[in-house]
């Protein structure tokens, strides 16, 4: 029994490498990879998983180091984090204080419908665009692109100050590399007079057009939660219609920004 334990302990490193390789391979093929990394890195992760599996198998057969308590604790911590992230802590913490970007994975991933050329609301066509792409359009200032009608989706952030102005912030998380370096990008949205702003933290599509924010009304807005944020200070979206939508977790983050149509939405 002691020999068996010693043999297992000596192979702990190799087994941990194999487990990590398996997790990476699963994420990149069947799992909720989007929750951690931009999907464009899937081939890199998959290749790394294969190399790691080879090294892990070798380390299991021919251990390179004696068992180490420090490394063992690191593996245990990593396993716990995987469980936290994959196993439903999101569900336990889903209350009014939750960060909207910490979403529960839905597996298997649902089919994502292709983005149509135009979205229609109240008899008018709108160009589908994401907040990152619209941020670029707004940053370039008044132009033909600035004047066009746009449909943008994202989470709602409300505050008493914004409510008083009949406004809310619409935002999404831009993930270039990984979740940890994500930045929330958003816009102030001005609702039509008399229209009730949507619920805080709800997922909506806003249909409208950009308008320059007067100098005396520009302000820095810090969005709640861990994410760094950029809310356009120069322009806001004047909404014709705001439509509540069912949240599809896979659409929560933005992974792509295009400079022209068709936009990534």
């Amino acid at each position: 029994m002691t020999k068996l334990l010693a043999a297992l302990a000596a192979r702990c490193d190799g087994l941990a490498m194999l487990a990590l390789a398996g997790f990476m391979g699963w994420l990149a093929t069947l799992g909720n990879y989007w929750m951690y990394l931009n999907p464009k890195f899937k081939p890199v992760t998959l290749a790394a998983a294969i190399v790691l599996a080879v090294l892990g198998a070798y380390a299991t057969l021919r251990p390179v180091a004696k068992a180490s308590l420090g490394r063992g604790l690191c593996y245990l911590a990593l396993a716990c984090l995987v469980w936290f992230s994959e196993g439903g802590l999101q569900t336990l913490s889903a209350n009014d204080d939750s960060d909207v970007f910490s979403v529960a994975p839905s597996l298997p991933a649902p089919e994502i419908a292709p983005v149509p050329e135009r979205l229609r609301a109240d008899g008018q066509d709108y160009v589908p665009i994401n907040t990152g792409e619209l941020f670029d359009v707004a940053a370039k200032g008044p132009s033909p692109a600035f004047e066009r009608p746009y449909a943008v989706r994202g989470f709602v952030h409300r505050s008493p100050e914004l409510d008083a102005k009949g406004q809310f912030v619409l935002y999404r998380l831009a993930v270039w590399c990984c979740f940890a370096d994500g930045t929330a990008v958003g816009f102030r949205v001005k609702t039509s007079p008399g229209q009730e702003p949507p619920a805080d933290k709800s997922w909506v599509i806003a249909y409208g057009h950009l308008a320059v924010i007067p100098e005396n009304d520009r302000q820095d807005i810090i969005l709640p939660g861990m994410s760094f944020s950029s809310v356009s200070a120069a322009a806001l979206l004047v909404a014709d219609t705001v439509e509540a939508k069912e949240l599809i977790p896979e659409e929560t983050y933005m992974f792509e920004w295009r400079q022209a149509e068709p936009y990534a939405f």
Binding site: V64, S68, C80, D181, F228
Partner: protein, 335 residues
């Protein structure tokens, strides 16, 4: 926000950093293993010049060609000095190699969306610091640099006082870290594996790659957890206070780099996540971290004399602070 919610974010952020960095760490480890197994070190030693400046420059040049992490090179530097490599070359190599090698450069480029500015400045600062410390070390006697020169002579890293021919007596089993909390596993690989026969070269490369990876993976996991905890638990207002003030942001990020002790092939991704900080502060984080951090300090204390340890601590910190402050002033604190 409640505790569960923060734990949730912490877990997701930690995993994302680990998953992002593992391929680069692996690439570095495999490349390091191949270099270790296939590049004869004694030949390099014979080719090195003896002059202070020349040997320091050659050390930097070799560093540029050697994919490795900062943890592995400390014991390698001691080993090289013990073998007769000019100290200036070994010390410059030790400081600069973790940053100016192709893998770290690629990782920095990817993390900053292909913008080479940060990678170029990071290399420049590390080269300057490596040059200064290397030139200084080049003019010193080995006895004034190594804590225990005799231990370096066998160049096996086992810490025992014996020659290479005596290795067989204690290197039969799996290699162990020689009595140090952060000793590189690569340094503990038996000499037969360090200088393998042709038949064993692939196995030797794999063993070194695994040893490097296991060493660095532990540091990466801990560093990612600290970085993620910073993002999940430090109030946004604290971060904002740092990011908006160049005077606070540069030393703050330098301190963070020392505490986080991140791997040089993964730290660029962590730095990039501080997206709203001044570029000068991110540069300070990137330039200092691979040259000075907590685990390196512990390793230096075991390998080098207190005097060299002080120089290794003060000079890179001073170079990075002065250069980044100037860079921050010139760029107006832009992020």
């Amino acid at each position: 926000m409640n505790a569960l919610h923060n734990l949730d974010l912490f877990a997701q952020a930690t995993l994302s950093i680990v998953l992002e960095a593992v391929p680069f760490l692996l690439l570095g480890s495999v490349a390091s293993g191949l270099v270790e197994a296939y590049v004869p070190r004694d030949r390099l030693t014979r080719l090195l010049p003896k002059g202070r400046l020349a040997s320091t420059l050659v050390g930097l040049g070799i560093g540029a060609l050697t994919p490795c992490c900062e943890c592995g090179v400390v014991f390698l530097a001691r080993r090289l000095i013990g073998k007769g490599v000019p100290p200036g070359a070994a010390v410059a190599f030790m400081l600069a190699a973790p940053v100016i090698n192709p893998v770290s450069l690629l990782a920095t480029l990817v993390a900053f969306r292909g913008d080479p500015t940060m990678a170029i400045w990071r290399c420049a600062l590390v080269i300057v610091a490596g040059l200064v410390v290397g030139y200084w070390a080049g003019g010193r006697d080995v006895l004034s640099l190594l804590r225990d020169p005799a231990a370096a002579a066998p160049a096996c890293g086992c810490g025992h006082d014996h020659g290479p021919e005596d290795h067989a007596h204690h290197h039969h089993g799996p290699a162990t870290v020689p009595g140090t909390p952060f000793g590189s596993l690569a340094d503990a690989v038996p000499l037969a594996a360090v200088v393998p026969s042709r038949r064993d070269k692939v196995g030797s490369a794999m063993r070194h790659a695994m040893a490097d990876f296991l060493d660095m993976a532990k540091v990466l996991i801990l560093g990612s957890m600290v970085a993620a905890a910073f993002k999940a638990y430090v109030p946004v207002s604290v971060v904002m206070a740092l990011e908006n003030d160049l005077v606070l942001a540069i030393p703050g990020m330098m301190a963070l780099a020392v505490v986080l002790s991140l791997c040089s092939q993964a730290d660029a991704f962590v730095a990039a996540s501080f997206s709203t900080f001044p570029a000068a502060a991110k540069l300070a984080f990137l330039a200092l971290g691979p040259m000075l951090d907590l685990k390196l300090l512990l390793m230096w204390r075991q390998v080098f004399t207190p005097r060299l340890t002080r120089v290794l601590t003060v000079v890179p910190a001073a170079v990075v602070f002065i250069a980044c402050a100037a860079y921050g002033i010139l760029t107006g604190g832009a992020s």
